[in-house]
Symmetry: C2
Subunit: 729 residues, 2 copies
């Protein structure tokens, strides 16, 4: 195919295994072989294809860095008759980062015929020289700043701090490099020139989202954070690599799926390509990576856009793919997309006409909850594979959270690998016990009923009857568990006593079924329902858990696998008579309001505080700002004072016990772009803080008590809901 | 005192409360009042005195930032008749950070007579103008780059990424700012000029360690990381602020205590002052701050050095202090130190003669283990105060870890607030039960014995007899707990069933007594001995726990409060017959070797991997490199193959289950500068990785099996120790 009028490109949407340069490189070499066999002249791999990205302080292991370099050399050496573009760490051993570590870059390498391209000298000597750009080997080039570009690779301009990435802890950015070389940042935006099929291609290599968002201008760096507002504005910005210098833009990425980001990704890329009038390749990987407390799924959804912004080819989400596409030598207008029969998983190119940019990505065209379902099941499957476990034990209460978790795990692992356990105490209603049994029956899983009341009674009696001696005075006394404390005894009995032992005997792990609303305020018991290897629902607000339940019935199982009773019953922990579901009693949260209040607390790009909430309340725009139903606040709170008391109560929980519990909670599977852990850092700083302006606003609001009318949007007032007690350790 | 020939300076070594600008400012205003009353002409506060530093994403709360600005204005407004120097966040609302956040700096403010000093115009108009430097207010000045320094504050040059600080996630560095303004970094090293007592003082303001370490040169940035080697070299480096431009150096800091760093701090500062021939004030705060998983204690130990490097005054460690010192107007030689009677906690100036720089700091002059003791007790006290709890429950096994924890908590809380609980199963020996009782008796605490065997039997029988039904097939079966699984049942029974309930009834918290050696390889049970509100020993290797035990007996209690039996018995979990202490059986670790091996894994600045270990082993320098006793390796391992198998076993645990367990472990109290969490980030990436070079080295070593002689340093071979099984969940 070489020498034809089209450039045939292989899109290597590989699953990157973090911390496994050996396996990643083996896969890359196999994909290169296949791509060559299929006639591809160029193959594009994702950002950090060799090492992965979320590695923690493995980035400080010298031996690991040398290993990555060595595997990078193997990829370069294998680039015979094909141009290969890939991400890897580049190490400049003679230099140091600001903090004394050895200097590292997040880099994009271009190689052909066994040599790296793109060092400064290539650009100087002009067309045709790229194939002979010297013997420089990746990462150890010591060239100074005499050339237009000082390295035989391209350096990521703006490093990421979101999604647990923490790149500034390890890498030197292109911005810093430019400052060091006393060059303007834009001067490092130099394309890589490569001769392919008798024609010189000027490749505009960009790494990740930062390089798309940030670019030449000095005043404005809105990239890096998932901020939908900003992002829309950015789609009109020029890339730092000027369109007249570039024949083909290539963005190698390692971007996790998030609801806030993935939808808009193709639209932005398409807009950028169309604006520049040059084709653009976006190459993202699949798989999962984590920063410890937070697990991210990577959706791939790589795509090629022509110079009019039309999608020539899109790869499926969450599926490793080697896809092929042909580009005309002129770059624009585009040639028809090609889909070789041998490329499994490839979607045919999508030629959208008109202004609405349609793409073939599942994520971009499906509903939010469908995307969430896909992300969660993919994440469960990949995370369990990575830790080498295929069985799970789930405490099935008859409530919504454990029901949804049971359905997800059953989809991923098969019913024979899912053990559902109902563990009733005296407070569990026949209603929920029957609902749990019906769900298990519908799923056809393994099922057991193991009552806990006897053990709970034993623990209470053992603790209450224990003789405590004061060895200074010789006096003895005993302690007494309150009903509230016994609620937590029940939760711990279920998880730490029964499920932990059962999981071991079953050779499985425990599912933590908590949702984000609970996790925000610590409405859960440490060493109780917070136990687990993974918190699969912990980045979903309660209303999203309900949506997912409906989706599971309607679309996934296409039958009422989750009994309607589970969806309709009042959410309750059933740990005391005050939580009697048959009397309609349950959680102290009014989810249609509190979900949105809590979302504002952890929101991006700025986190709302009580000061903001009161400001919006006084301005009559609270519901609009946080996104809940208009009129809801007035229907919940009889008085402004009740509204303020509720706000303070949950703010204190969120900043206090909530933090302490999250620190010991299982890893969260992220879907929102604002997940606890990697996208929300926190310290355990004791008592919650209220700003001085908060107190002034509060005074104003409490003065309103004289005036019964709410400042918020008027609505039909409903009787206030009872705010019963909540569980806290 | 104003107008005298000396400059009287108040050192406000305050306890900074992270996230409490209200309380910090109130304290600052009180200290300013007292300082003025004592005749001080200048008062120096620490870095980020108003907000604190370890706040997580509170830095993204706009309302919090405005609050800090407002409190900063109050401090400036209160600077009548005194020059105040303090750290605060500076916000430039019109600009953005690289990632789209509002632009923030870690800044040093200088104010006098109600106005900020140090904006560019001050420098231009020369001597005497500092008192009239305009109406600019902190943080919202929009001055461009027309002046030598564009802001009425100084910006931290190099941001920290260690100690959980993550400053690059939130702040813009002076380096970045310089690049943005197209200025060399050194051009931002502009002193602040202030007229005090009829004389113009040029103050060289530096923030934190980064500004001391990194300065004007572009090639070398060794600061930021606790690296003793580098640090020694740095002491000869010039500060970016040239000595001819400066009359007095002021380093405001927020540096946590670490064993690797605190000792050398005064020596470096002294050397810097002596080298420049100018006096230097080092002002660090006390208190604690945390990044969630890791709690740091701040030792203060502020000091003033004269132009010969002599300590004029040093403040005590871990004690809030308002100290006073007088400087001669010429800067050097120094005037005698002054210690006003009213300044509590002040050490008298230390006039060391000769080359040995002695200082008055406890930390700098005491032993390592004394400093560890001080740091741990201070950390316990402050952390418990911050979460509002004053009682603790400790599972007392009769082993060394729980014994040391019991002594520490008893020292801090008093014996009446410490409940020690011995919870024997069938596997606990009379030996350890008696040792536990004797320790409790010696401490005079509250004590209870609560046996667990009955409950453990109940759980085993309940789990083993549970009927599990396959709802797809209708078949039923049961599971069986192995003896290994029952070990973990015991651990969970003690902590999640007994201690958690007991702690609630006692209105206290659970102590997690695990040490760093266990935590490294996950030798502990989740929801068992990993439970707790704080892991007070988790930054100490096992041998340090022993040292601390001896120190507690010899120095703190001055009697054998920890029975010798506890110190001499073999370390054991006593969960099975294989861990029978009366037969000398116990943990699978040979601590005198494994402590040092593990320390190399998590070490700074580079983390050792098995490749490094094998390289050192082959080079005969392993023991020297990791710091253990020469000859030890050969005495432990009969063959090279046994050595390699042991290495791989623990590397797998460290990278595998160890990570999973640490993610759900309690916060660690840091003392080493290399604590898990803030100083050691990690991902849960499944199977442990070995580099390609590791496999080559391993082959070489296994080939040595033919030659019985070890490559390591020859020593008297001792019989190999048994490596019995270890607990894993």
């Amino acid at each position: 195919m070489a020498g034809s009028s089209f450039l045939t490109i292989a899109l290597a949407q590989m699953e990157v295994l973090p911390g496994r340069p050996d396996l990643n490189t083996a896969k890359m070499l196999a994909m290169m072989k296949k791509a060559r066999w299929e006639g591809a002249q160029m193959i594009v791999f994702p950002e950090m294809a060799i090492p992965g990205r979320l590695l923690g302080d493995v980035w400080k292991q010298t031996a690991f860095l040398r290993d990555c370099e060595e595997y990078g050399r193997q990829v370069v050496a294998a680039s015979r008759e094909i141009c290969v573009i890939f991400g890897n760490v580049a190490v400049e051993w003679q230099k140091k980062n600001e903090d004394g570590q050895v200097r590292k870059y997040n880099a994009c390498f271009v190689a052909k015929d066994g040599s790296l391209c793109g060092a400064g000298s290539c650009g100087d000597s002009g067309a045709g020289s790229a194939g002979n750009c010297g013997t420089c080997n990746g990462g150890s080039n010591s060239a100074g700043s005499h050339f237009p570009y000082p390295y035989p690779f391209r350096v990521k301009t703006v490093l990421a701090t979101n999604h647990g990435l923490d790149e500034r802890r390890y890498f030197c950015s292109g911005r810093f490099l430019a400052a060091e070389l006393a060059l303007p940042v834009a001067s490092l935006a130099v394309p890589v020139e490569v001769e392919i099929g008798g024609r010189l291609w000027r490749l505009g290599c960009m790494i990740g989202k930062g390089d798309l968002d940030c670019p030449g201008t000095e005043e404005d760096y809105p990239g890096g954070i998932d901020c939908p507002g900003d992002r829309e504005n950015n789609s009109d910005k020029d890339p730092a690599l000027k369109k007249d210098d570039v024949d083909l833009y290539i963005n190698i990425a390692g971007l996790p799926f998030t609801l806030t980001d993935s939808r808009m990704r193709h639209r932005r890329l398409s807009s950028l390509a169309g604006k520049c009038g040059k084709p653009l390749i976006y190459l993202n990987h699949t798989g999962i990576q984590n920063c410890g407390k937070t697990i991210y799924v990577f959706d791939g959804a790589s795509a090629v856009f022509d110079g009019e912004g039309k999608a020539l080819c899109t790869c499926p989400s969450f599926q490793e793919t080697l896809a092929f596409v042909k580009l005309s030598p002129s770059g624009a207008p585009a040639a028809p997309a090609t889909t070789p029969a041998s490329s499994s998983g490839l979607r045919s190119g999508n030629h959208a006409a008109g202004s609405d940019i349609a793409t073939g990505s599942d994520i971009a065209t499906g509903s939010d909850i469908a995307a969430v379902y896909e992300a969660l099941t993919y994440g469960i499957e990949r995370f369990m594979r990575s830790i080498g476990v295929s069985r799970v034990v789930i405490g099935l209460s008859g409530g919504i959270d454990s029901a949804v978790a049971a359905c997800l795990y059953t989809q991923v692992l098969g019913p024979e690998n899912v053990l559902l356990v109902n563990m009733p105490s005296a407070y569990n209603s026949a209603t929920t016990k029957n609902l749990a049994a019906r769900l298990a029956q519908n799923l056809g899983t393994l099922y057991a009923v193991i009552p806990i009341q006897e053990a709970v009674n034993y623990t209470v009696s053992q603790v209450n009857s224990a003789t405590i001696t004061n060895l200074s005075t010789g006096a003895s006394f005993s302690l007494e568990l309150t009903p509230f404390m016994i609620e937590n005894v029940q939760a711990r009995d279920r998880f730490s006593r029964i499920l932990a032992a059962l999981a071991a005997a079953f050779h499985g792990v425990i599912s933590c079924n908590g949702n984000k609303s609970e996790l925000t305020i610590g409405y859960s018991t440490l060493y109780g329902d917070l136990c687990g290897f993974l918190a699969v629902l912990a980045d979903l607000w309660k209303h999203q858990v309900y949506e997912l339940a409906t989706y599971l019935n309607d679309t996934v199982y296409r039958q009422e696998v989750i009994p309607t009773g589970i969806i309709e019953i009042v959410p309750s922990a059933e740990l005391s008579p005050a939580q009697d579901v048959d009397k309609g009693l349950g959680d102290p949260l009014v989810y249609p309001y509190h979900d949105f209040l809590f979302k504002a607390f952890v929101g991006q790009p700025e986190k709302a505080t009580p000061e903001d909430i009161l400001t919006w309340y006084l301005g009559g725009e609270l519901e609009k700002r946080i996104g809940c139903r208009i009129g809801l606040v007035e229907s919940i709170f009889k008085t402004p004072a009740a509204f303020v008391a509720d706000l303070e109560r949950w703010w204190r929980s969120y900043c206090g016990l909530g933090v302490a519990k999250r620190l010991q909670a299982p890893p969260v599977l992220a879907v929102s772009g604002q997940a606890y852990g990697g996208d929300h850092h926190e310290a355990q700083n004791g008592e919650a803080y209220f700003t001085s302006r908060y107190y002034k606003l509060k005074e104003q609001i409490l003065a309103l008590a004289a005036h019964p009318a709410h400042p918020a949007h008027p609505a039909n007032p409903a009787p206030p809901l009872p705010l019963s007690h909540h569980r806290e350790k």
